[in-house]
């Protein structure tokens, strides 16, 4: 018996045990699920640390499953983000109406995470498709998790319909690819790729399918509704983990499989980047609900991520990964503050935040830093992420694209500052009272805070990304 396979697939195996544990723990009659929450968080912290142990670069199951340093790094980013989301979700899960749903919530979250890991580690489009579906189907149930709320039910069905159409489109692209190359293995396809008409069409279908998951314009229509309708922890899971997994998969397929034909996909990335940035910005300007606002802000950020794809060298992928890392932490900080507010007061409009600083100075300072990071203001990490992306695009001579991106970054600064103005400057007779936060929520916010402040200054991390992307 060869046990080395288990140590290579350790994250998937451990998460499967997590899922089984949730099924069994859900059987207990106890009303209070706090012990389940504690155990899950401790166990997932251990999994996160195990993810950082060194592992072997190898392929398993006839190269259906690939393990290398880059993929392990991707999984570590997703692990840390999921850990922060689990910490943030404790406030929501402790509410009396959600206590009976704790097991189901964790079960679905970990199932999607297993799907995403298989999607990232895929060495074959069959594996990629299976992982994608395993990641998508439980997510639709999570979106409809508050099943007695009309808006949550609506968010679930909207997500399910659009994601089913998108995976059908993706599959049609895969079937055309199979027709062109006669194989779906990454390693074999990388040798065969050409710029024939049918393979370009197949790639466009494929990018459209993943574009849905990444919420690129024109495939973004589900985003705002689903973000607004879903429960708070699920929304942050969508905007960070689900988006991150789709981005990493797209990067792996484009750079590793179609890397020899960059002229086929850099043009598509160019157009998608411009439309996504512009449309996301224009809609974000008029939002009053903060969840919808963050939905459009995350669409805009996806547009910036596509900017990296116009550079087909390792530098492009490198900056995309680095930007995603920073985006995750900044976005999670914003969602962390927002989830504390909505859990305690149920308010999620921008006007409700008027005078927030006078009552909750620490929360509003973290929100300030996170929004600065999303807008790309120098001392915080977000600036470095955007700067490297612009450098990557400019080094290939796409000056017009970089110019449009800089304009869009300026516009986005305006609406991020609107939130900051509401918190710090606008007066309010009855501001949100000083909110209590649990130890877990404090821990999550301080992890985000450290990440936002430190990542921009620690060059070792950037060098490490550079090294693993190679």
């Amino acid at each position: 018996m060869n046990w080395s396979t288990l140590s290579i697939m350790r994250l998937e195996v451990l998460l499967t045990f997590m899922v089984l544990y949730q099924l069994i723990a859900d059987l207990s009659e106890k009303e209070n699920k706090r012990s389940v929450i504690d155990f899950t968080i401790i166990f997932f912290t251990i999994i996160t640390f195990i993810g950082f142990l060194p592992s072997e670069n190898t392929t398993l199951f006839g190269s259906m499953y690939i393990n290398d340093e880059l993929r392990v790094f991707f999984k570590n980013i997703l692990n840390v983000s999921t850990l922060i989301i689990l910490l943030q979700s404790t406030g929501w899960l402790n509410k009396p109406e959600n206590q009976s749903k704790t097991g189901a919530f964790y079960l679905l979250i970990f199932s999607t995470l297993i799907g995403m890991y298989f999607m990232i580690s895929a060495g074959d489009f069959l594996m990629l498709y299976l992982g994608l579906e395993l990641a998508t189907l439980p997510l639709t149930i999570l979106a409809a998790f508050d099943k007695n709320l009309r808006r949550s039910a609506e968010a679930g069905i909207k997500l399910l319909m659009s994601s089913a159409v998108s995976s059908a489109v993706l599959l049609f692209g895969l079937s055309l690819m199979y027709g062109v190359y006669g194989t779906l293995h990454f390693s074999e396809m990388a040798l065969l790729t050409d710029a024939s008409t049918l393979s370009i069409m197949a790639l466009i279908f494929f990018m459209a399918g993943l574009g849905f998951k990444l919420s690129l314009v024109p495939f973004h229509l589900w985003t705002a509704d689903v973000y607004e309708g879903s429960p708070m922890p699920v929304t942050s899971y969508f905007s960070v983990v689900s988006k991150g997994a789709a981005l990493f998969t797209l990067a792996l397929v484009l750079y590793r499989v179609f890397g020899s034909q960059p002229n086929v996909w850099t043009m598509a990335a160019y157009i998608l980047s411009i439309t996504t940035m512009v449309v996301g910005n224009l809609f974000a300007l008029r939002q009053k609900n903060l969840k919808r606002f963050l939905a459009f802000s995350s669409i805009t950020q996806a547009g910036f991520m596509m900017l990296g794809f116009v550079n087909s060298d390792a530098l492009g992928m490198n900056t995309i990964v680095y930007f995603m890392l920073i985006y995750s932490l900044s976005n999670l900080a914003v969602f962390g503050v927002l989830s504390i507010v909505t859990n305690n007061t149920g308010k999620e409009n921008m006007d409700d935040f008027n005078g927030f600083y006078s009552t909750n100075p620490r929360l509003s300072l973290i929100m300030l830093l996170a929004l600065f990071s999303l807008a790309g203001i120098p001392p915080v990490a977000g600036f470095f992420g955007k700067f490297f992306l612009f450098t990557a695009a400019a080094s290939k001579g796409f000056y017009i694209l970089v110019f449009i991106a800089v304009l869009n970054a300026t516009v986005s600064l305006y609406y991020y500052l609107l939130v900051i103005k509401a918190m710090f400057i606008n007066k309010n007779e009855t501001p949100i009272p000083n909110l209590p936060s649990t130890g877990y929520e404090k821990l999550a916010l301080s992890m985000c805070f450290v990440g936002i402040v430190v990542i921009g200054f620690v060059s070792a991390l950037y060098d490490y990304v550079m090294l693993v992307v190679g």
Partner: protein, 107 residues
């Protein structure tokens, strides 16, 4: 009688493309959630036709396409199960399965 000699591959691809876009139009035009679900199933079946046809005509030595078609069928069943559960939930909340009336979330 050898069917393969009589039906060229092109016919299969034309058929699957037509079925795919009929399904897509069904999703886009129909307003009933169940009918939209049927449109999605049509799209997935078009993909299956493609996979099986390519495998049979072009690469008869390897069975990748056939297996992919089988897995797509299994996943389509899972998707339909979840979709119907969510549609029942929608019916309980809104008393309708028409997407025009499910309009709680708007700009």
């Amino acid at each position: 009688m050898n069917l393969q000699a009589e039906i060229p591959l092109d016919y299969m691809i034309v058929l699957s493309t037509i079925v795919f876009f009929v399904g897509l139009m069904g999703v886009l035009i129909r307003r009933n959630l169940i009918t939209m679900l049927m449109g999605i199933e049509l799209m997935l079946n078009a993909v299956n036709i493609n996979f099986v046809a390519f495998n049979h005509y072009l690469f008869p030595n390897r069975l990748e396409g056939h297996f992919f078609a089988l897995i797509v069928m299994a996943i389509a069943a899972a998707e339909a199960a979840i979709a119907i559960a969510l549609i029942i939930n929608i019916y309980r909340q809104f008393n309708t399965v028409s997407v025009d009336d499910v309009d709680e979330l708007k700009y």
